[in-house]
Symmetry: C2
Subunit: 308 residues, 2 copies
């Protein structure tokens, strides 16, 4: 069983690669839900949705979020009613949120809801939210404390970040199957997702980090950074704010207590020694995934690292 | 001030006529909400919506419900997720329900929500839900007890009706402004809506029927029946089940304690004597409204009855 820890965009690309390189039934995805939020009364799980839409083959490859060729009729009408429309919800996407919100209000757990959506979308891989409890990434900025979506989407990561924390995480429980998946895995991959806001919350769920340290499975990560920049998104600012060196080295170091191998970009070859000094085997390749071929090639290279 | 009591379809047509024949700012609509229901976790108010969409000029004139040229992208996706789709929710229509559900959950009253939607849709007439409390028309059929929407839309009014009742009505309060509107009205119209499931619930709200008896305004009704058939919908079966003669006479009789005048179809001229014997002035004309001209003509004829 291949178990991956992931956020949205970057992780989804690599997972798409894995889904073509291994039997999807042998793939378990543990997904960040600390960016979940409620808008227009609808429960939105951006990372779960990105992963689901990607594996269902309906994600929008250009925008990197939402469903391909989706329309925005509901959103336009919501705007006429005076609703905030900075988060671009497509019509088909909204159906997901309506179903999720409805089932959550009816008493189902997020993991049950995710299982149902996954099944209806014909996805064979197992998708687990990191937790059924409310854990929320909060960003302390120079202009006050905001949610991750407000920071990332509404304010387009312009405010200066002072600190990041995961509200509610100390009291949270990992979702059913999360610890078991890590314990029973043959291979574990930390996706090239934001170490602070995508992987960070998963690791902060009580028991998860310890399980990663104790599992007999090898754990291999893929760098989300090239040089000092994230491949996409605001990882640089968020890592710096958390005192993490904003580089492949910083990412590897933040996982060093459980990481066996790390895939970095060829351009970061100069960091190899520094990362290997942490006791982590390093492979340098191209970590940019534009085409499906890129995704499959990187997935193969990651899988090869387990054989070494 | 012209005050009208109404359900959806038939009432909406006459109200559209009134909105062209009087200053809309002088028009107050008291609307049935006993057909409201929750589907996919969304609070749907079919009659309020039909009235709103009609007055906003966006209703679908062919279907008689929903918004003109609406699309059904969300519904198709909901169907893929296994949701029931017997109630045809369009995309723009769904935006209404999302906003309503969101505001109700945030603690706003249905009357506040309706006021906000009305204002955003640019409607000048005042629209009042009959109550902010949950009152639900329940149909006892040969196959068990069901809601009005299940009877009307899902089962296409096929089950045999044994009894109709309004769950929750005894404990309900009329919405703010309802009794005041009836008290202060210059003219009151009972729309050609279903006497059992559209007008009946409004009259059953404690205080409403008494206010109609006591107001100094004249009260004029328009028959929803021609012969023994409703102009549209299942009024015949529902009236018969409630022991009401399924005809213009039965409708007039069920309002006789507060009705001053009644407009019937020319084809029902033979019922004139029977209705006048109830102490109700009768005007016979055509009560079928197909074109906007029909609606305006009938509105004018109703208004003329107040002058007599």
């Amino acid at each position: 069983m291949l178990v991956v820890l992931t956020g949205g965009t970057g992780g989804a690309k690599l997972i798409q690669g894995f889904s073509r390189e291994v039997d999807p039934a042998e793939l378990t995805i543990i997904c960040n839900t600390a960016d979940d939020f409620v808008l227009h009364g609808l429960h939105i799980s951006p990372d779960l949705d990105t992963i689901m839409y990607t594996l269902a083959g309906i994600s929008d490859p250009v925008k990197g979020w939402g469903i391909q060729d989706d329309t925005f009729t509901v959103l336009h009408q919501l705007e006429k009613f005076g609703a905030e429309v900075w988060f671009k919800l497509g019509d088909r996407d909204i159906a997901t949120h309506i179903v999720r919100t409805h089932l959550l209000r009816a008493g189902f757990k997020l993991s049950d809801v995710t299982e149902r959506l996954r099944s209806k979308l014909g996805i064979k891989a197992k998708i687990l939210p990191m937790s059924n409890d409310e854990v929320e990434t909060r960003i302390e900025t120079s202009e006050g404390e905001i949610s991750f979506q407000e920071y990332f989407v509404k304010q387009r990561w312009q405010p200066e970040v002072k600190k990041v924390f995961y509200a509610g995480v100390a009291k949270s429980w990992s979702a059913p199957g999360v610890l078991e998946a890590i314990c029973d895995a043959a291979k574990i991959v930390i996706c090239p997702s934001n170490p602070v806001t995508s992987i960070g919350p998963i690791l902060a769920i009580p028991g998860v980090r310890d399980a990663l340290r104790r599992t007999t499975a090898r754990v291999v990560g893929v760098s989300p950074m090239i040089g000092e920049s994230a491949i996409s998104g605001p990882a640089h600012n968020l890592m710096a704010a958390q005192g993490i060196d904003p580089s492949a080295h910083g990412a590897a170091k933040s996982y060093a207590d459980f990481l066996d191998g790390f895939v970095i970009d060829r351009g970061d070859e100069r960091l190899r020694g520094k990362i290997e000094a942490l006791g982590i085997r390093v492979v340098a390749t191209s970590v940019i995934m534009k085409s499906l071929d890129d995704k499959r090639r990187l997935a193969r290279e990651v899988l090869a690292l387990f054989e070494k």
